[in-house]
Amino acid sequence: MPEAASPSRSAVLRLTLACQFGEVRRAARAVCEFLRERGCGAEQLMDCQLALVEACNNAINYAGKSASGDPIVVEANCGPEDIELRIIDHTPGFEWPAQVKLPDSETEHGRGLFLIQSVMDHADYVRAPGGNTLVLRKKRRATE
């Protein structure tokens, strides 16, 4: 699944996964290992893993029949100052709400975007005909 990794100060991991829930955890583990090897701390790993899983789950949920055969591409860029995750999907996409709120406590769905926004420093969703890209960033801190 991994396609490339650079030994330079800013390393990039690129993964392609099938549009299936079972693939998501495997990709998240690979990204975590990649970030751990570059000195990211436990809290950052946990946050990045959660955000990545929620983003991929969201892409699968929105895929529908038309996009369920298209892969999801995950890119993790680990630089000296921050971590950037890009999740590229081929779904119809959705409008990222201006303000992400928690649903009613009895509602069983709809907490993914809230969790992403809670654990990452930046989230931007760009819709395009060739694929939508969710860009997530988190500042690096000293290894815990």
């Binding site: 829930f21 079972g22 998501v24 955890r25 946990m46 893993q49 959660l50 899983v53 929620e54 789950n57 699968i60 928690l102 406590s105 009895e106 509602t107 069983e108 769905h109 709809g110 907490r111 993914g112 809230f114 969790l115 809670s118 654990v119």
Partner: protein, 100 residues
């Protein structure tokens, strides 16, 4: 996953992960295991290293199942990473959580 029936309580343990890939099966297996007289569900999360929003959804569904029987859902010993997600989403206000 291990399930133990004891009087009015169904105790669930050995749940390694609770995410989109297994949350529906997790919820359905527990509901199917409940006997008519059981109203309480206890889930031991001490071995659960990972929960996502779909896993939370399954816990909310089981909370509603227990409430409909006039019982309660209790979460036991969640790890710090799982406790963080429960608190971020304010689920710690609706679930009874027994810390380890």
């Amino acid at each position: 996953m291990k399930m133990l029936s004891q009087d009015e309580t169904l105790r669930v343990s050995e749940v390694p992960e609770l995410g989109a890939a297994n949350s529906n099966d997790f919820r359905d297996q527990i509901r199917a295991a409940l006997t008519e007289r059981q109203k309480n569900i206890e889930i031991d999360l001490s071995q659960t290293t990972y929960v996502d929003s779909c896993g939370l959804g399954a816990l909310i569904a089981l909370h509603k199942t227990a409430c409909s029987r006039k019982g309660a859902l209790k979460l036991l010993k969640p790890l710090p990473s799982v406790q963080q997600i429960l608190e971020l989403t304010r689920m710690h206000r609706i679930f009874e959580i027994v810390k380890g």
